[in-house]
Symmetry: C2
Subunit: 317 residues, 2 copies
């Protein structure tokens, strides 16, 4: 059976960038993506902060360009999902079982399976995603200058992003299902002190309505058992982010949310297994930080194999 | 005197990306670049590995796009050099003295002054830079498939990059001024074992010749006191890299070569002073890794000031 030098799992910005860099080293590699390429980026209507694109550009366009660049470097991209991975200690390699039953072998893996914001799962959420419904204030906040926004959540992320949104928005209303916030005291003080920020307690979103953009949020108050309609130009959802790492079955060290723990060279707790992009524990999740991780993981795979070649005779010369 | 929330020093990919991200937070900031924008990237003729640009693109073009993006976000860019920096402990701020005598104050700094490959300083080097003369195998190696290349140097970087180049080139000749290599034993073994790699000992480059591209290298052998002419399509120079950090006068913790030491959030040993891009100690120096650093530093400046606002009353509300 053919053994790949590297298998890249995930076709978002991290995986595609890893593909470019790995391909350029001349290693024999493949990129696997279980659904469509692009990860979270592809769902983004307007990207203004990926360096090198001065005019607003869609996630679809940026991803198409990256895909073209991977193909130009002759790295095969296949639409296949990975079911499970096993580390073979004797051969210092990985065996992948794909969803279609196929078995692959690889000396190294780059895990770039991304993360997903946890969804509200209410009518209108999917329809208005990127059209007023957002999961990233860093990305979309500046699009809401002088607008009225609602934020769902009560934890640290929700409060931090609410503060950030208040720099642009005319008014930000936090919708929280309890009667008290969960986030750190210092963050709570900040949002309470901020005159632009308002609260809807004991409340949950029932539906998101609009025409081409979000216009109204239907909110149910659990305590009063009443439903009300609120005008809003945007709804930011911060009820959690989940890394797409369940399929690894805890074989790699991760934090309690499941984000993979790496060192600064993107090595994980298993030899030859690197993590790149949103699926790893990191300070900022953006297209450019994911692309940077991919580049680094690609080069680290190359250096790792260079070392191995002289340490382990089984890899041949 | 006006106090900036942040001053970004350096206008390469790291500084420009920091500019985009800082501007989007709404902080009052400015970007200073002492000469032309672009850093090392602007001297690069052909970039194939910056994700999102599938067709080969010049450094000039990528930098022009990033500059346009910074200006679109209304961040002022000024062509001014910084002579010295002082940290004012009482006010927890920085005072910058510019080369033109101007004085600026800032709550935070992003140092993005880059690094420079040490040059050979021989005739033809400048003329053929980007036309066969290169300082980055990761960037330019794949352009030299089946070509004959020479590498100057004998340390770890020279040997690692020679190994990398040997994946593409027909032949790679290491030109070294001594009669033995300096790099690690394991790297030495690798280059000696590699049939594509040849050596010119006790030798120094005297001149680089060509037409539109490098064609010939004039080499002087110190031991034999003789000069010879060698055909080559490319010359890679690896005699060291110097971070542009001398002007900081050791006020920030750095390694012995002068690269600034940061944590994973790009904080340095001084509060509110962040480092981004090639000037910091890091595993891979590429446009995309610099741009990623800039984005992260920009967001960390924002979070740092958010914290401060509630810890130090002098910053106002």
């Amino acid at each position: 059976m053919n053994i790949y030098d590297s298998v890249i799992i995930g076709g978002g910005p991290a995986g595609l960038s890893a593909g470019i860099y790995v391909a350029r080293t001349g290693l024999q590699a493949i990129l696997l993506e279980k659904s469509i390429l692009g990860g979270q980026a592809i769902t983004t209507d307007t990207i203004e902060n990926y360096p090198g694109f001065p005019e607003p550009v869609s996630g679809f366009e940026v991803i198409s360009l990256m895909e073209k660049q991977v193909r130009r470097h002759n790295l095969p991209i296949e639409q296949k999902g990975v079911k499970s991975v096993e580390y073979q200690k004797e051969s210092d390699s990985y065996t992948l079982t794909l969803l279609n039953g196929e078995i692959l072998s690889a000396r190294t893996l780059i895990i770039a399976t991304g993360a997903c914001p946890i969804k509200l799962d209410v009518p209108g959420e999917k329809k208005f995603a990127g059209r007023g419904v957002s999961y990233c204030a860093t990305c979309d906040g500046p699009l809401f200058r002088e607008k009225e926004i609602m934020v769902v959540g009560g934890g640290n992320s929700a409060l931090e992003e609410t503060m950030f949104l208040s720099r642009f928005a005319k008014k930000v209303t936090i919708i929280h299902r309890r009667d008290a916030l969960r986030g750190d005291k210092i963050l709570q003080e900040r949002v309470f002190q901020n005159p632009k920020i308002d609260f809807l307690w004991n409340s949950i979103v029932k539906e998101i309505k609009g025409n081409t953009q979000v216009r109204e949020i239907i909110i149910y108050n659990k305590k009063e058992d009443s439903t009300s309609v609120h005008k809003a130009d945007g709804l930011f959802v911060y009820i959690g982010t989940k890394p797409n790492t369940d399929w690894l079955n805890n074989m790699v060290q991760a934090d309690k949310q499941g984000f993979l723990i790496t060192d600064e060279k993107l090595s994980t707790s298993l030899p030859g297994l690197f993590a790149a992009g949103d699926c790893r524990q990191k300070a900022l999740r953006q297209i450019v930080t994911a692309a940077s991780d991919g580049a680094l993981a690609g080069m680290m795979v190359y250096h790792y194999l260079q070392e191995k070649k002289f340490d382990n005779s089984h890899l041949g010369s």
